[in-house]
Symmetry: C2
Subunit: 204 residues, 2 copies
Amino acid sequence: MAENRPPDPSRRSERSRRAIHDAALGLVGEVGYGRTTVEAIAARAGVGKQTIYRWWPSKAAVLLDAFIDLGNRAAREAGEQAAGFPDTGDLAADLKLVLRATVDELNDPAFEAPTRALAAAGIVDPQLGAEFVQKLLDPGLQLYATRLRAAQEAGRVRAGVDPRIALELLVGPLTHRWLLRTLPLTHTYADAVVDYALHGIANP
Amino acid sequence: MAENRPPDPSRRSERSRRAIHDAALGLVGEVGYGRTTVEAIAARAGVGKQTIYRWWPSKAAVLLDAFIDLGNRAAREAGEQAAGFPDTGDLAADLKLVLRATVDELNDPAFEAPTRALAAAGIVDPQLGAEFVQKLLDPGLQLYATRLRAAQEAGRVRAGVDPRIALELLVGPLTHRWLLRTLPLTHTYADAVVDYALHGIANP
């Protein structure tokens, strides 16, 4: 009978890991990256500090995993594929779908505070910034580059265009508007960015 | 004879003001916005704390003026006009000139540390962020919007394009690359961003 089974250590680990992730994201959103400590994460998660150090070498490593986990959970909730960039053959539609989802994610309070705290820390700390760009940001940017390259091979994107630069005309405006809070981040805005980036703002 | 003239109070004020600006920018670049204090600015500038409070109500106000002064000095050194966005009739050339100058400014060590510190502080502090966007960022963005609107009236920009969104395809990519340090910020990159934004990445 279930009640008599010994506790499952892997399930308990999973619960602790999730509690540590949630504590880390909550703290960094509340007090900032600089004032978040491994001690405070452990206390909030209800585990010993040694439990954290058994799994992660540093505060940055805990947060990195916590963000990857948060992104995966959000993707699962949104019903997205794990390897996730749509390719229906309609580049504009695919880009609008992804940029609208990005808008929703950036406007989601669960993301907002910790993502801002981490971005702010990386902006003034080159080593931390490089680690998070390499492990969190670049994999997502590569998905854009791959999709744009496929469109280029299908003759939909101009031959001379560098996909690695082109993707910045899509993600750059959203990031700018969100980080600096210049104007509201909406689906209408995401659609306009895609249209302008694809067709240009100049008269042909 | 010069040696016998009494000290000129307005010139002494100007010297103090400049010393306070330099101290504020130096400190914020070294220790961050949060740990910069009016006391420390006063000590480094060699003035009393009351001198600062006579001219500015807060640390944020000192830094705001220091940044405006830094921008004006850089513009003067670059030989730019005060009201500054070129309109030669060649939109691509004008935009490349401005974006290349922005690249140079962002790569200038005198700007780098304090600008990063301020951006990071604004990203996690909505009130501070709003103040700096309104007073430091928006006036520059308005110059882009005005130039794009003039091009639109001259038939060079498509009629349906919103200049306030279009400008983000120019400044967004540069800001993204610079803040997150994804790849080097160069003139070649600035030129590509202008070309892609004007003519689009899609095959016509």
